[in-house]
């Protein structure tokens, strides 16, 4: 801290220069801004779905079955007359919410295991990493599918299954970061003063290992939204009548030849939100990795 403070004092414009640098990069990649905007909209929709949705998502109206998009029903209605616009808005909660949950669970578990493994080292580390090597050599999504099937079809089980198979990647990432940081002079110095592994982890390793992990998590959000929706689509995730984008496309399949809107809007919602988080993750990665800066 002290060093940073004197540094800032010597260069009063350091903070502003940092902002300039970020702005320069962002200006060069409007796609990152688009991604950030999409991510923000998704978050707003998740929180404010009840306010934004014109109808309750489960309100059945048999008189308005399979109605085409109109001012009353922006995205049309489904086979029991539920308003698809409202269902797509509420669907953000299930579809993106589950993706957030998956990424948070796997990130937290993976980072803790990975950092500990790196800090403890020795035979524990070797054992954990060999185990992770084995898991990383397996096709994660196929295993998630089998696991979700075994646990029984439900949104919660799908979440658990995908989270479990994503853990090893984070273990490896966090351990790599830890090992790199462990050899930094300030960590060595701290250890030479007798700091405990827990202290090192809390004050030196985790804060510094965090940003690459956050970038990876953002990048994974997009993919996880797709995975969660796909599991629901094949019947392993959200069960009807939950509003969830993947299962909406799944039920819309029976009508898609004539009622194009039924599958179109939930599908677009998946595509756009996944794209938003992918763009944002790409942008964040580029900003953190100066070597990739100009790309």
């Amino acid at each position: 801290m002290a060093i940073q403070a004197t540094g800032a004092a010597r260069h009063p414009s350091a903070a502003r220069e940092g902002l300039n640098r970020i702005w320069y990069r962002v200006k060069g990649s409007p796609l990152t801004l688009v991604g950030a905007a999409i991510a923000l909209i998704v978050l707003i929709v998740i929180v404010a779905a009840p306010v934004l949705a014109p109808y309750p998502p489960d309100r059945i109206s048999l008189s308005a079955r399979l109605a085409a998009p109109s001012l009353q029903h922006l995205f049309g209605t489904d086979e029991v007359g539920r308003d698809l616009f409202s269902r797509v808005l509420y669907g953000a909660r299930a579809s993106c919410g589950i993706a957030f949950a998956i990424v948070i669970i796997s990130t937290v578990v993976g980072s803790i295991v990975g950092c500990l493994s790196g800090v403890i080292g020795g035979i524990v580390d070797t054992a954990i990493m060999r185990l992770m090597d084995v898991f990383l050599a397996l096709p994660a999504l196929i295993l998630a599918m089998a696991l979700a099937a075994a646990l029984g079809p439900s949104l919660f089980n799908a979440m658990l299954a995908v989270a479990v198979v994503r853990v090893p990647a984070y273990v490896r990432l966090a351990r790599g970061q830890t090992l790199a940081l462990r050899n930094r002079t300030y960590v060595k110095a701290s250890r030479s003063f007798g700091a405990s592994p827990a202290y090192l982890l809390r004050w030196h390793i985790l804060p510094n290992a965090l940003s690459p992990i956050i970038v990876q998590a953002t990048l994974d959000l997009g993919g996880t939204i797709l995975t969660a929706a796909a599991l629901s689509f094949i019947g392993l995730g959200a069960q009807p009548p939950t509003s969830e984008w993947g299962s909406m496309v799944s039920s819309g399949r029976n009508y898609f030849l004539d009622q194009w809107w039924y599958i179109t809007f939930p599908g677009l919602a998946i595509l756009i939100s996944a794209m938003g988080f992918n763009l944002l993750g790409d942008g964040l990665r580029d900003m953190l990795d100066p070597r990739l800066g100009g790309r």
């Binding site: 220069e17 300039n20 640098r21 320069y24 990069r25």
Partner: protein, 331 residues
């Protein structure tokens, strides 16, 4: 070989260039003038960041696309303006008329192709030779570089060779199409001290025997002084001093040249503690007005607030320093 003979191969006149960065334009070159005649060996010296490499890479248009923008001046390379040449025309200039040897030989050869293929490829690009003839020529070139068993080296991959060996291959490639001009951009900086002398003398011998002009770019006054007929001393994107090597060394005119020479062990006076030049290069984002060396100069005074032009101070030399200009006028 005396200077001022032969045709002018490369003529850089008042060249200015900037790199556009997020902090604003960095003015890398601020009116550099420099020329190279056929057959002469010219040194370009200065500390890192003074614009030595940038000048030569701008002249051969090897700077990466995008960042660099020429803001003034002109370049004539073999009588034509390289900035106006098409990519295809440039390809015929490069390699055939002017080739470049770079500082870092480690990655300068394609790691996945054999040495022979890479040398032969350059030869056949510019000369109508059968592959067998090109192969013979390549072997001869490698042998000229004192590479024993050139046939075996031709079969090797770059990672199997030492840095010095790779640099010799690259020199052979540079000479392969008998160019009139070779730009050697710190060719020995990345190498072991033990092979530096060998590499330098290989370049010099080959150049003298083929009548090729060479521009030696170096931060090392000692190296340049041994090899070159003429010198350009660059400071902060400008020429501080130019002239025949012997004259410059004997009586350096510009305070910066003097400082550089004083930094050399043994050249000025033996067993004297080595000096260093106080201060650092000016910030090229916001270069100060006037002589750019002013802040580090012992002789600076109020005249130096204006930029001194590069002016002849004696028959052999030009310098950009108000004191020398005045002394020359007085004489």
């Amino acid at each position: 070989m005396s200077a001022a003979q032969g045709d002018i191969l490369l003529d850089i006149d008042d060249l200015s260039l900037e790199f556009r960065t997020f902090r604003g334009p960095v003015k890398a070159l601020n009116g550099i003038s420099l020329n190279v005649r056929a057959g002469e060996i010219v040194g370009v010296v200065g500390e890192s960041g003074c614009g030595k490499s940038v000048t030569m890479m701008a002249a051969t248009r090897l700077l990466p696309k995008g960042g660099a923008h020429i803001t003034g001046g002109a370049v004539r390379l073999f009588g034509s303006d390289p900035m106006k040449l098409s990519e295809r025309e440039l390809q015929h200039v490069r390699g055939r008329q002017v080739s470049t040897i770079f500082q870092e030989p480690m990655n300068a050869l394609n790691p996945t192709r054999r040495i022979g293929e890479q040398v032969i490829e350059v030869i056949r690009r510019h000369q109508r030779l059968s592959s067998a003839a090109a192969r013979q020529k390549a072997i001869g070139l490698l042998r000229d570089m004192l590479i024993s068993e050139p046939e075996r080296i031709m079969q090797a991959y770059p990672f199997e060779l030492s840095g010095g060996m790779r640099q010799r291959v690259l020199i052979a490639m540079a000479f392969s199409c008998e160019p009139k001009l070779i730009i050697a951009d710190e060719p020995t900086t990345a190498l072991d001290v033990t092979v530096q002398a060998l590499i330098l003398s290989l370049i010099r011998q080959k150049a003298v025997s083929t009548g090729t002009a060479v521009v030696f770019i170096s931060h090392d006054m000692a190296v340049v002084s041994q090899l070159c007929d003429r010198l350009y001393v660059l400071y902060a994107g400008r020429v501080a001093e130019s002239g025949a090597t012997a004259a410059v060394l004997a009586a350096p005119a510009h305070p910066y040249t003097r400082a550089l020479i004083r930094c050399l062990p043994g050249l000025a006076a033996p067993k004297r503690p080595l000096e260093q030049i106080p201060g650092t290069l000016p910030d090229m984002l916001n270069p100060p007005a006037g002589c750019l060396f002013r802040a580090r100069c012992r002789e600076a005074d109020e005249r130096c607030i204006e930029v001194p032009p590069l002016s002849p101070i004696d028959p052999a030399r030009r310098a950009a320093c108000w004191r020398r200009i005045e002394e020359a006028e007085a004489a």
